[in-house]
Amino acid sequence: MLLEVLHMSVFYDKAMLLNDVNLGVDEGELVSLVGPNGAGKSTLLRAITGLVARDREISKRSTGGEVILKGKIRFAGEEIQGVPAYQIVKRGLVHCPERRRPFREMAVRDNLLAGAYLKRDRVAKASDLEKVYTLFPVLKGRSSQVAGTLSGGEQQMLAIGRALMTEPKLLCIDEPSTGLAPILRKEVFTKIKEVSLLGITVLLVEQEVSAVFEMASRNYVLSSGRIIAEGTAESLLKDEVIRKTYLGL
């Protein structure tokens, strides 16, 4: 297993956002995590990539509510639940956050270079930049444009490109299709499939269940902070209760 989440529970100010979650992603897989709004999908990704731990540190030093993180996260054989967010990237685990969050005031190229922040080798940086431009030709044409002026779809490509610049083993993408027109959604999903074919393991959080089930090898269904089902698309769709109640299909 490349990534293993064991008995993970997360509390924000006494609200339980995740309740004893177990999840695993194997090398080379494209795994999806689906579920209704507020199920805790984003929280799970934030916990995996160290952002919940960061919130906990901040809450300790301010008057904000208490944040509790329980359980273990194992990545490439090492436990990483105590590692600060900025050191997790180094290990090859990257998070492409919800709402894309490009650096809006910075040029597209600088956004991508921010992804290569940890790399010092200029030649390697340039070749990685070329790779991302090959994957997302739209970005190349807009390389000196300020990211805030890109369309939603282009911003999503940029966010994925920026994450790829960190040379991840595992790419966690949070709701890439939100707020995009149907055609663009399709394009984004195609690109994610391409990324997966490059040999990068993908953990994809989505609301668009039907599109995701077509591409993912395995799926987890999260509801109210608990994993309530796991399996291939076929097996999940066979279960009448899950199909109707949680997937809305």
Partner: protein, 289 residues
């Protein structure tokens, strides 16, 4: 008259720009409202006074020593005083006011409240259209422009600059890119305080050194930052020159009106807050953290 206004506006505008950009920088990166910012400028001025007048060191060496000392002082206070309360906005505000007053009192103890002065680095002047332009003014202006240019290059071309820009926009995503928030905040504090110290160093020959000299620039700097938009370096830069020229206009056009310059700056600040609270280039703060 016109040239007088231009010279005076350019010089005070540049000083305000240096101060406001330093202040904006640390606000943008770490969300620290550092009220003590201009107090560091005051300390730098005293350092230079001490080194040149009491110890008889050369001007350039004194300036460098002063800047280095103030940066060290800034980093120490940041590490042991500001950083522990960083996530608590009200505490930072009150804490840095206390810090400024503490520095003022220490200077008062050491140097008393006497008005002190430091002679110009370069003497002499030349005249254009009957307006005296002192070489010191020219030197100050040149140094300020050089430092602003260096700062811009640092931000746009270096790795630290990239990290600073990322942090200023989205601290969480900066973490996801592998940027060490604490280190970058620390480095930014060093740069910010360094800019304040440099401002003190170049302004010293043109002003009077006393323990309360941090208050007036603080008020004008706040007005500049509000006008330009909190956290926007471009805004701070433009806002500084707008207020610099406004100040020059008030001083030269209103007979005996020099005392009004502070109130004009504050009036501009209040107007901006009423009409356009985000300032010229302010960023709408979405989700903080």
């Amino acid at each position: 008259m016109l040239l007088d206004i231009v010279v005076s506006g350019l010089i005070s505008g540049s000083m305000f720009a240096l101060l406001a950009i330093g202040f904006s920088l640390i606000f943008g990166v770490a969300r620290i409202v550092n009220i003590a910012h201009t107090a560091f400028y005051m300390v730098a001025a005293y350092c230079i006074f001490f080194f040149t007048q009491r110890m008889g060191l050369g001007s350039i060496i004194s300036m460098l020593l002063a800047i280095v000392m103030v940066i060290c002082l800034g980093l120490l206070t940041y590490r042991f005083f500001i950083e522990p309360i960083r996530e608590h906005e009200a505490a930072v505000l009150i804490g840095t006011i206390a810090l400024a007053i503490a520095m003022q009192e220490v200077m008062l103890l050491i140097f008393t409240g006497d008005f002190l002065s430091v002679p110009s680095l370069v003497g002499g002047f030349f005249s254009i259209m009957n307006v005296k332009i002192f070489y010191q003014q020219l030197l100050t202006f040149g140094a300020v422009v050089a430092v602003l240019l260096a700062l811009w290059l640092m931000l746009m071309k270096t790795r630290l600059g990239l990290a600073i820009r990322c942090m200023a926009e989205d601290r969480e995503v900066a973490n996801l890119m592998g940027i060490n928030e604490r280190l970058v905040a620390m480095a930014t504090m060093g740069i910010s305080v360094g800019l304040a110290a440099f401002t003190g160093a170049v302004v010293v020959p043109l002003t009077i050194v006393n323990p309360f000299m941090w208050m007036e620039p603080l008020i004008i700097m706040m007005a500049v930052v509000v006008l330009g938009g909190l956290g926007s370096l471009k805004g701070s830069f433009l806002g500084a020159y707008i207020l610099g020229f406004t100040e020059a206009l008030v001083v030269f056009l209103i007979p005996k009106g020099a005392f009004l310059k502070g109130s004009v700056a504050l009036s501009i600040m209040i107007l901006v807050l009423i009409l356009r609270p985000e300032g010229l280039f302010g960023i709408a703060f979405e989700e903080e953290r």
